[in-house]
């Protein structure tokens, strides 16, 4: 354990040492105007000491497990695949002190030995590289060295690498979704998926189980998503927009300073809490209300989920709209008031038209959020894929299906898990399209007042 972190400690210590040593070296040099401050030379030395050694450490760490595994398993040439993995895991457990039967002790010993050997070798190598790097850098510390340039270039490279991670994330998302979806579409035709009216992905556990034939027509799922989204936007749109208008245009700054954060609390509440509220408070009381009114309201109605989701996204609508309306320059407002307009006329005729693109963008972002929202629907909407427009019935959504299909220890290559990825890809593409469009609109809008 100690041996595994010791190299890092060594690198840190050497790095610090290199900084001071290099800085001292340049300070001792005859002072002319240097292409960098002494600190830059210090960092230069540190970089040479730290970076190669760290890379070596990382590479070694990544590779050594695999190498050791191969060596250990080479004693069992006839084992392969899952069996080998099983064996190796048990060997590892044994080495970690969890005794299990049936473990070849020789292999355990070998493993422990190899691990120690590897750690020692890594320690030696890292130290050597670090020392070498230090001297390499040290030798080059001369007043002619453009230390500042070098250090800054190194920094820029690091920054660039960081910014690549975002791209890698997207690539990862797309790849993982596409690969599984591709496999899914080899089993189920895309036509069925996009146009089929029956969704029943549970594979029969028993032969005679009803309606578990594995139907993958996603239309009811999409329809459910749409229904809930529409309900949510019917709630959030007007309330959010009017709140934003009131806050931006009418409210006294002090009132606004209180109300705005209060509204934003709504967005900060975890969705699971909303789900909890919807499932345990709203749905029962709605069902009771329905009973009183003579309506059949399912206990997992689209209405309950949509209402709660609508409330959740009120702040998205209101905050964005508010931001956009306050970004409309005061001068336009003054221009309108100066012509004798009332406040509501100013809002309706000047501010809203000016802000419309931004507000539309905001609405699109809110819709995308509603579509992608998971927990509320998982807890408050149903699993049943009803193709209905009746808000009192239970519907299911894309996100609900993804969650339910994947939770639990499933075989990862069954049709239904792959179906989840297909749904995921659809979700990704739809929200992506909404976002791209919204960003376009918003961006265009914000350019207007540059």
């Amino acid at each position: 354990m100690l041996l595994s972190y010791l190299p890092l400690l060594i690198i840190a210590l050497f790095g610090a040492g290199a900084f001071y040593a290099s800085r001292a070296r340049i300070s001792a040099a005859p002072q002319r105007s240097l292409p960098g401050l002494p600190g830059h030379y210090g960092w230069y030395g540190t970089l040479w000491t730290v970076v190669p050694a760290t890379l070596v450490y990382a590479a070694w760490t990544i590779i050594d497990d695999q190498v050791i595994r191969n060596v250990v398993l080479s004693d069992f040439p006839d084992l392969s695949g899952a069996a080998a993995t099983l064996l190796y895991v048990s060997i590892e457990n044994a080495a970690a002190g969890v005794m299990t039967d049936d473990v070849p002790m020789a292999s355990v010993e070998l493993l422990l030995h190899l691990e120690n050997l590897s750690a020692a070798a890594r320690f030696a190598l890292v130290t050597a590289v670090s020392v070498l790097g230090f001297f390499w850098g040290w030798r080059r510390i001369r007043p002619e060295l453009t230390a500042r340039d070098r250090v800054e270039t190194a920094l820029l490279v690091a920054l660039f690498i960081a910014s690549i991670i975002a791209i890698l994330t997207t690539v990862g998302i797309v790849l993982s979704l596409v690969v599984e979806t591709f496999r899914f579409f080899q089993l189920v035709s895309p036509f069925e998926f996009f146009f089929g009216l029956e969704w029943s992905p549970q594979i029969a556990l028993r032969e005679d189980q009803v309606a578990a034939s594995g139907a993958f027509g996603a239309v009811p799922v999409f329809a459910g998503t749409l229904l809930i989204t529409v309900i949510a936007m019917l709630v959030a749109g007007p309330i959010g927009l009017m709140s934003a208008i009131y806050l931006a245009e009418y409210a006294h700054p002090r009132v606004r300073a209180v109300i705005k954060p209060l509204l934003e609390i709504l967005a900060g509440i975890p969705t699971v809490v909303y789900g909890f509220f919807a499932a345990l408070v709203l749905a029962p009381s709605m069902r009771n209300l329905g009973v009183d009114l003579g309506l059949t309201i399912s206990s997992e109605s689209a209405l309950a989920a949509g209402l709660i989701m609508g409330i959740m996204i009120i702040p998205f609508v209101s905050s964005l709209s508010d931001d956009i309306m306050t970004a409309v320059p005061m001068s336009l407002r003054e221009g309108s008031y100066g012509l004798g307009a009332t406040a509501s006329e100013t809002i309706k005729r000047v501010i809203l038209p000016a802000a419309t693109p931004g507000i539309v963008g905001g609405f699109m972002l809110a819709i995308s959020r509603a579509i992608g929202e998971t927990m509320i629907v998982v807890m408050a909407a149903g699993l049943a894929a009803n193709l209905t427009a009746n808000p009192f019935e239970a519907v299911t959504t894309v996100t609900v299906q993804i969650a339910t299909l994947l939770v639990g220890d499933h075989e990862f290559d069954s049709e239904k898990t792959m179906a989840a990825f297909a749904l995921g890809l659809t979700l990704f593409i739809v929200t992506l399209a909404l976002n791209v469009a919204a960003l376009r609109v918003v961006q265009k809008y914000s350019e207007r007042y540059e």
Partner: protein
């Protein structure tokens, strides 16, 4: 050179009497008395923060938009009060138009910009009337020839000086008597400034104009009367020529000759 005290137009357009303005607890204007004559350009000059804008915005009650702003004293337009709480600011602002420091055309077409006020106040029952108002206003603002072929393009696509003239056209489209201008040229380059000054000179035959400016030369060029404010007080109010050739107050003299601070 005419002496101020000798000025005695029978009916001033705007009268301020003992006007004081407070922002919260801070007094920004102290007891200002001033008569603005009809069809003249009156300039307000003074160092930064002396209260020029505040005073200007009293005339069309724009200060009402500022929450903690409160004023006392009386202000009369053609003899009737405009400061009282029961005065209809909508009507007031119809009669007293305003042009701002930064040109602020609405993000609408040139036409809609100018038509905004008339539509609001139901001034043009038919499209034809509206067309006429728009054209007349643009003409009067001296920008008709430049925009007549593109009244459908957004007002924001015009150049700075044109935008400011569009704003003037918009203001005069509701047929105000008075135009208030708060540093209307300070965001413009010298050439655009010159065209606006030119326009102000023409407009004064029909409108009573009050202009706030930091630029003393501008005040000198465009105005007939000049009021010098300092620290929230009206120091001197007189013929512009008198102020710039021979002011009565030493502090006016110090300010305009650059002997300040």
């Amino acid at each position: 050179m005419v002496n101020v005290s000798a000025l005695s137009d029978p009916q001033p357009k705007l009268v301020a009497r003992a006007v004081s303005v407070y922002y919260g607890g801070k007094q920004a204007l102290f007891d200002i008395d001033l008569d603005i004559m009809s069809r003249e350009v009156t300039a307000f000059i003074g160092p930064s923060g002396c209260g020029k804008s505040t005073f200007l915005r009293c005339f069309n009650r724009m200060n009402d938009l500022i929450d903690d702003c409160r004023s006392t004293g009386s202000m009369l337009l053609d003899g009737s009060d405009i400061a009282g709480p029961d005065v209809d600011v909508v009507q007031l602002r119809m009669r007293i138009g305003m042009v701002f420091q930064k040109p602020n055309p609405f993000p609408k077409s040139v036409y809609d910009n100018v038509a905004y006020g008339p539509r609001l106040h139901g001034m043009a029952p038919t499209r034809g009337d509206l067309d006429e108002i728009v054209e007349t206003s643009l003409r009067r603002a001296g920008i008709w020839d430049e925009v007549k072929d593109r009244v459908d393009q957004p007002g924001t696509s015009l150049s700075g000086g044109q935008q400011q003239r569009l704003c003037i056209a918009r203001a005069i489209a509701v047929r105000p008597d008075v135009l208030l201008m708060d540093e209307p040229c300070s965001a413009l380059d010298p050439i655009a400034t010159a065209t606006i000054e030119e326009l102000i000179d023409e407009l004064k035959s029909e409108y009573t104009i009050i202009i706030v400016t930091h630029n003393m030369q501008q005040a000198a060029r465009v105005s007939q009367k000049t009021a010098f404010l300092n620290l929230g007080r009206l120091i001197e109010f007189d013929e512009t020529q008198k102020i710039f050739t021979n002011p009565s107050e030493p502090s006016t003299q110090d300010y305009i000759t650059g002997r300040f601070g």
